[in-house]
């Protein structure tokens, strides 16, 4: 992974946004976090050729970093990032394995439909849910075509090896991948990307598309990339290579 540190420094007041997401900080969270600098546009590029089907480093790391519990109930488990297998119905291509997460859409239908504006897009393109404002109506889950959102169906608590820097998942509200906003604001890459690197897969790249010198900008210029369901016009910001 690489993330361009220069642009991270340029984020200015964005660290405050990370604080605003911390537990105990209430209704003002949405306003503060929208104050992130508009000069960046965070995005992810996933090379599916490097993603092996038996590797779950990204999903495991996400769970640990963000205190995302598994309830042991497949219908109601929460998945911020999940591994998907796709098989060409006509058998022209081998089975492909890839991670799918919130696409941090440019035109996010989840944000359009949220009645209380609990779902919002930060100026740097990260789509977040203010869990203190979400009323749990689930309309956003109906609207997101990537199944990126989960309702927290059961009460949760901080796991023994949990991350105290991130709040626990809130019962009765809808949550999803934040691109690890607390890490991004601290100049780090999302946990999944870091874990993918550590597992020597190197399939995930995160960075600022607005910075022409960032690695992700260069890569999306050089290689053919695709996003999922581009036809819907949401302008997703998780791009795939080799799909």
């Amino acid at each position: 992974m690489t993330m361009d540190r220069r642009s991270v420094l340029g984020l200015g007041g964005a660290v405050a946004a990370g604080v605003a997401l911390a537990p105990g900080v209430h209704l003002i969270a949405a306003t503060q976090t929208t104050e992130a600098s508009g000069s960046s546009r965070w995005a992810m590029l996933i090379d599916v050729n490097k993603c092996s089907s038996d590797c779950n480093a990204c999903t495991d790391a996400c769970r640990k970093e963000n205190n995302v519990p598994l309830f042991g109930d497949p219908d109601r488990d929460i998945h911020w990032i999940r591994k998907i297998e796709i098989r060409d119905k006509e058998g022209r291509r081998p089975t492909v394995s890839l991670p799918v997460l919130c696409n941090h859409c440019e035109n996010p239908p989840c944000v359009h439909v949220c009645p209380t504006a609990a779902s919002f897009v930060r100026k740097d393109g990260i789509v977040l849910v203010d869990k203190h404002r979400c009323i749990g109506c689930r309309y956003c889950m109906i609207a997101c075509p990537y199944k990126a959102r989960s309702l927290v169906y059961f009460p949760t608590e901080l796991p023994a090896d949990g991350n105290p820097d991130v709040p626990i998942r809130g019962k009765g509200v809808v949550e999803k991948c934040t691109f690890c906003v607390h890490r991004v604001d601290a100049g780090l890459a999302p946990a999944c990307v870091e874990a993918c690197d550590k597992a020597s897969e190197g399939a995930m790249l995160f960075g600022d598309l607005n910075d022409p010198t960032s690695e992700i900008s260069k890569r999306v210029r050089e290689v053919a990339t695709k996003a999922i369901r581009e036809d819907l016009g949401l302008k997703p910001h998780v791009h795939y290579q080799g799909l």
């Binding site: 488990d77 439909v113 749990g136 309309y139 075509p145």
Partner: protein, 398 residues
């Protein structure tokens, strides 16, 4: 021509028994609400694919019916069907009762109902939900105002009634659009969803009015001319045919575009096809039309009651079908590929409602019922003798 309006005698034991039964249902719904509140929505049958379940079916069915309940009022105020003028008060009041019942269920099923104040403080104007909140509030105000004019200031009845009529069209389009605007769901996304909801509201609102009117007059020992019931029967027939027409147009258009073959075939032959064929088409349209068009059954009050009851069941089935089929059909994230994951990608969802959801939904019906009962007991909503104007006859009989 209208006889004195009257309150329904409340000393009858049946009245109090009914009050107690409905109160019991509301109490059980309150218990179910706290149960879900404490343990989370995991105790319901809803899951990460079917996120709206039985409570939403009850809520939306009642909201749609509420706007249709205004039919009797609109028919007299706007379309000058004088024979129904005497039911204007009943009609506006029933609309409010159903609206409150439906909204209560919707509110109590939120993941965080404690934050309702927030929902009132922050409006996201790009959200269909926010619009609906405004539409429901406005509709309730207009209905109450309409009711007031009928009691106190009849010279304003026409203008307020017309506004309420216009509002209800927008309102039901709004309710339908909660689904229609969702691009990601093939089953929902359609410009005709709004109009179909309007047709369904017309039929179910008329049906529920017939059921309540006949039952109330009978239980209270009041008098009603059968011709009024048959007049409403004709309206119901027309509205049911309208629903059928919209359903047909939707299927026709969707089957014309190859992109919808898969989903439409799934709807008509898949695991939820019974809800469409059995619930919407057979129970909700074919059976009631069969009864209402029948020269024996259709000309009896009992027959019309059966037809109306089936139309109400059909409305619930329609809402259930839209909601459950719409959510169960898997997202097609990679057209042309088979998809699988631990998050059940590529699989159709299954949903089996649990008792707390049913109890919550019935609680909403009970709230509407209680409001109705108290209304007819304490307000002069109904004419003592429901008769037709001189010289008026049912224009058509089967």
């Amino acid at each position: 021509m209208i006889s004195e309006f009257t309150t329904v005698e409340g000393r009858l034991p049946a009245f109090y028994t009914l009050l107690i039964i409905l109160g019991g249902f509301v109490g059980m719904a309150a218990a179910a609400f706290f149960y879900v509140e404490i343990y989370g929505h995991g105790v319901t049958g809803m899951n990460n694919k079917v996120v709206w379940g039985l409570p939403h079916i009850f809520a939306i069915a009642m909201l749609v019916m509420a706007s249709g309940a205004l039919n009797l009022g609109s028919m007299s105020t706007i379309f000058a069907a004088k024979q129904f003028k005497q039911f204007g008060r009943f009609s506006a009041y029933l609309a409010v009762a159903l609206l409150i019942g439906g909204l209560a269920v919707l509110l109590f099923d939120l993941g965080r109902p404690d934050r309702m104040l927030l929902a009132m403080m922050y409006y996201n104007f790009s959200s269909m939900f926010s619009w609906n909140v405004i539409l429901y509030t406005g509709f309730m105000m207009l209905c109450l105002l309409y009711l007031w004019t009928m009691f106190e200031a009849q010279k304003y009845t026409k203008v307020v009634g017309s506004a309420a009529f216009f509002w209800r069209l927008v309102l039901t389009t709004g309710t339908g659009s909660i689904f229609g605007v969702i691009h990601a769901r093939e089953v929902f996304h359609s410009a005709i969803t709004g109009p179909t909801f309007i047709a369904v509201s017309l039929s179910s609102g008329t049906a529920v009015s017939i059921l309540l009117l006949v039952a109330t007059y009978k239980a209270a020992g009041l008098e009603m001319d059968k011709k009024l019931v048959f007049g409403l029967r004709n309206a119901l027939i027309f509205f049911l045919l309208l629903v059928l027409y919209f359903l047909f147009v939707e299927k026709f258009v969707k089957f014309y575009s190859p992109a919808f073959y898969d989903v439409e075939t799934w709807i008509l032959t898949g695991p939820l096809a019974w809800l469409y064929w059995g619930g919407v088409i057979l129970a909700g349209i074919v059976a009631p039309l069969g009864i209402l068009f029948n020269s024996t059954l259709g000309n009896t009050v009992k027959g019309v009651m059966w037809g109306s009851a089936l139309a109400v069941i059909g409305e619930f089935a329609f809402v259930a079908h839209v909601l459950i089929a719409g959510q169960s059909y898997p997202f097609n994230m990679f057209p042309g590929y088979e998809v699988s994951s631990v998050f059940q990608d590529g699989m159709a969802a299954t949903y089996s409602p649990t008792l707390p959801e049913l109890v919550l939904g019935l609680g909403g019906v009970a709230i509407a019922g209680l409001i109705y009962l108290l209304g007819i007991r304490f307000l002069r909503l109904l004419p003592e003798k429901a008769v037709v104007p001189k010289g008026w006859d049912v224009p058509w009989n089967p």
